[in-house]
């Protein structure tokens, strides 16, 4: 199993509250890693440490390191925008940018002037909409405002927008929690298909979703990483008492 993201002794503080306690974790490449745990356990903080989104919260202090492909993303010389280009993020609910469907997908390409390098913008937009499973539904109205799509379609649009900048890693912060069951299933299907090419890390509070998707599982509790390992083991046969209690719905 090849490691893609290595988290080393990571601590995070919000003002005076410790959100992550000395986390060390290796996240395997081209697999879906699922982080579970009760709310407030630090799972979203852990996720957002991987694309430097913790920087956005003022008063956050971080120590330790996160390595992607063996390179620190917290080194002073690192360009944050490059990290975020390499690590896509799906938010809890979709936020289409205030522009057309087409421009949403083209947004990242334009920001990074990627379309000038050879391939045409139209082809790229079509390609990523297809990857996100949205092309057939929107091909006749690419220039309509993205806000007119249904919420489920919007989340797939956000997926296409994220894929368009050619990341290696996809993070998802409960990406189906705002969606109806069918749309959620649709996103899950996309993620399953995408793990061939991407390393995927998902935060979820839906245990059944975790079981459906996870290759690798991490259980967090009160800022600590209690248990991690192959999904089969963590979710079906946990070694730790606290993991077992959570899986059985005790908290």
């Amino acid at each position: 199993m090849e490691t893609h993201i290595s988290i080393r002794n990571l601590n995070a503080h919000y003002q005076d509250q410790q959100a992550l306690k000395n986390i060390s974790l290796d996240i395997p490449k081209n697999q879906i890693t699922v982080i579970i745990g009760p709310s407030g356990c630090g799972k979203t903080t852990l996720l957002k440490s991987m694309n430097r989104f913790l920087d956005l919260v003022s008063g956050t202090q971080i120590s330790g390191d996160v390595l992607i492909d063996d390179e620190s993303i917290y080194a002073p010389s690192v360009d944050v925008t490059e990290v975020r280009k390499k690590v896509g993020l799906l938010l809890q609910r979709p936020f289409p940018l205030p522009m057309s469907i087409y421009d949403n997908v083209a947004y990242g390409l334009r920001i990074h002037s990627m379309h000038t390098r050879g391939h045409s913008l139209d082809t790229a937009v079509q390609h990523y909409l297809e990857m996100a499973g949205l092309w057939d539904e929107v091909k006749d109205r690419l220039h309509a405002p993205a806000a007119r799509l249904s919420v489920g379609q919007q989340q797939r649009l956000c997926l296409a927008r994220g894929l368009a900048v050619e990341p290696e890693i996809l993070l998802g912060d409960e990406p189906t929690s705002a969606l109806d069951p069918l749309s959620a299933l649709n996103i899950e299907k996309r993620l399953m298909a995408l793990k061939e090419q991407y390393t995927i890390v998902l935060v979820t509070h839906i245990l059944r979703q975790a079981k459906r998707l996870a290759d690798y599982a991490v259980f967090m509790y009160l800022g600590e990483m209690v248990e991690h390992g192959p999904a089969q083991q963590v979710l079906e046969n946990p070694q730790q008492e606290r993991t077992r209690a959570y899986l059985e719905g005790e908290f």
Binding site: L91, L97, P98, I111
Partner: protein, 326 residues
């Protein structure tokens, strides 16, 4: 006391505390609220009607074209040309907005996007305070600070460097000028514009910023492509509010613009805005025939200018909203 009464069975309550049915109160309340809401609208309509009635004598004796485009204001000779005043109002307002809008937008962007939240929390009440300072205070400040500055520094500098530009020529300025009025006005409208724009930009959901940052956009790209377009209708409203205040502001402007009824050709010329014309003259020399009616006409023209401006911005707003469709 009342509570105890309410707990008693209805029939045994003393008569004076037997309440009419809730439905009657509810309906009466609805009507009362509607009437209070309609009241301001009614007043505006009454004002327009009254102004029209009072303006009629002059409208009957002079063609409207002569009034609106007439260049001379000489009540004793019966010449009432509004043109210099209309142009004066437009010049001062436009110059003030040109001075105010760009720095105000930058300040709002800074407060909403770059500053730490605590700075916004300090600045917001400060801006509201600035917006509440009586305009005469701004006028005095203009008199003692801006007018001399225009006369001794701005005008000579312009004469030396900018004389070739069409609106920057200097002919013996006293400092009482459109520029002085515009500067005072710009400072007065700034808090309104900053405060509204800042609030509108704050209302843009963080998820939108995060969505843009998550694909590797910089903060500036996020502001330019996401936050500002999303906030555009609200920003426009902020600017319109600033304009409306600038159009109507009387006192501070009147104190520093010189009040010479001539069509200006440079920002260093004095001007005489409509508001100042009415404020300076109404109640005096009303024995001059048609004078009273002419001043009412000036008020009507001012009202029309502001209404047309507001209507145009409402249409523009509609257009922007339809385009963004969000």
């Amino acid at each position: 006391m009342t509570n105890k009464l309410l707990l008693m069975p209805r029939a045994s309550r003393p008569r004076e505390v037997q309440f009419p049915s809730r439905r009657i109160i509810d309906r009466a309340g609805g009507h009362a609220f509607m009437m209070t809401t309609a009241f301001p609208l009614l007043i505006v309509i009454l004002m327009i009607v009254a102004l029209l009635v009072r303006t009629r004598p002059i409208l009957e004796s002079k063609p409207i074209g002569d009034l609106l485009l007439g260049q001379t204001w000489h009540p004793l000779r019966g010449e009432f040309g509004f043109y210099p005043f209309i142009i004066g109002t437009l010049w001062i307002t436009l110059a003030a907005m040109l001075l105010a809008v760009p720095p105000c937008l930058l300040s709002a962007v800074f407060l909403a996007e770059y500053a730490r939240p605590v700075i916004g929390a300090i600045m917001k009440p400060l801006l509201d305070l600035l917006a509440g300072i009586p305009s005469v205070v701004y006028g005095v400040w203009g008199l003692v600070a801006i007018v001399p500055w225009v006369q001794t520094i701005a005008a000579p500098a312009s004469q030396q460097w900018l004389d070739f530009l069409p609106f920057f020529a200097v002919n013996n300025t006293t400092g009482y000028s459109i520029l002085a009025g515009a500067i005072v006005l710009a400072v007065m409208v700034a808090p309104v514009i900053i405060s509204v724009t800042y609030e509108v930009m704050q209302a843009v959901p963080d998820g939108l910023r995060e969505s843009s940052l998550a694909v590797g956009a910089t903060r500036w790209q996020t502001i330019k492509h996401v936050v500002v377009p999303k906030a555009a209708p609200g920003i426009l409203i902020g600017i319109v509010l600033g304009f409306s205040r600038a159009f109507g502001e009387t006192m501070a402007v009147l104190m520093v613009v010189g009040n010479v009824p001539r069509v200006p050709s440079s920002i260093f010329d004095p001007a005489y805005p409509l508001t100042a014309l009415i404020a300076n003259n109404y109640g005096e020399m009303l024995s001059i025939p048609l004078y009273d009616s002419a001043l009412m006409g000036a008020a009507l023209v001012l009202l029309m200018v502001v209404l047309i401006f507001n209507l145009a911005s409402a249409l523009l707003l509609q257009h922007i909203l339809r385009r963004s469709q969000t």
